[in-house]
Amino acid sequence: MTIETYLTYIILPILSISALLVFIRFLIGPTLSDRVVALDLLITIGISTIAIYAMITNQPSFLDISMIFALIAFLGTVAFSYYLEKRKKNE
């Protein structure tokens, strides 16, 4: 088994299933915070998926996407936290 097949048929599916599990958390919530945490984790899984995919296709340029993910992803979380705080204050 080459590493590509290993990655394609074992690792990638596991990652995908993980993503699916996290997505279920996203759906059931119950609070907005749960969804935000799930979203954050989804992106983290995405970063690994991209890394694996870069190996499979032998296209390291995909890593750049990962890099941006890693840098920017938490900004969404920051924004939602901001929302939660401000919203509380306004009510």
């Binding site: 996407i65 941006i68 920017i72 920051v78 901001y82």
Partner: protein
């Protein structure tokens, strides 16, 4: 948001992200990236800073109104687009290239200036939008 932790990290992240954005800008012609993506990254850097430290401090840091970057960027982009028409009687947007390669950046040409214009405009636009909204919030 009042968080020492966020404030502290944001101070590290700002230069990091800015550096990263320049990196993405310069390599755009060869690898994924380019002015637009770079501009977004740079503006996100400032947005993060403003989340952590408040808008006032970010404005102070920027010194100029981000809106000012828009005409500057536009002028740069339009200028590099019409340069071939003015200087060489070639159609607008024709690529002009400097013969020798420069390390790190690669070949220097009007496309790079154009992309830099895009970069500046995108920063100006994103920041103007976000700052305006946050200010009036």
């Amino acid at each position: 948001m009042k968080s020492i932790i966020l404030t502290t990290v944001s101070k590290t992240l700002l230069p990091l992200l800015l550096l990263f954005s320049v990196f993405v800008l310069l390599r755009g012609h060869y690898l994924p990236g380019g002015g637009f993506i770079a501009g977004l990254i740079a503006s996100i850097a400032f947005i993060l800073h403003s989340f952590a430290n408040g808008l006032k401090k970010t404005r102070h840091l920027l010194r100029i109104h981000p809106g000012f970057l828009i005409p500057v960027g536009l002028a740069l982009a339009i200028g590099s687009a019409i340069a071939p028409m003015i200087f060489q009687d070639l159609p607008v947007m024709t690529g002009l290239w400097y013969h020798n390669e420069i390390p790190v950046i690669g070949k220097i040409g009007s496309a790079l200036f154009f992309d830099s214009g895009v970069y500046l405009v995108v920063i100006g636009v994103s920041l103007t939008i976000i700052f305006t909204i946050s200010e009036k919030a």
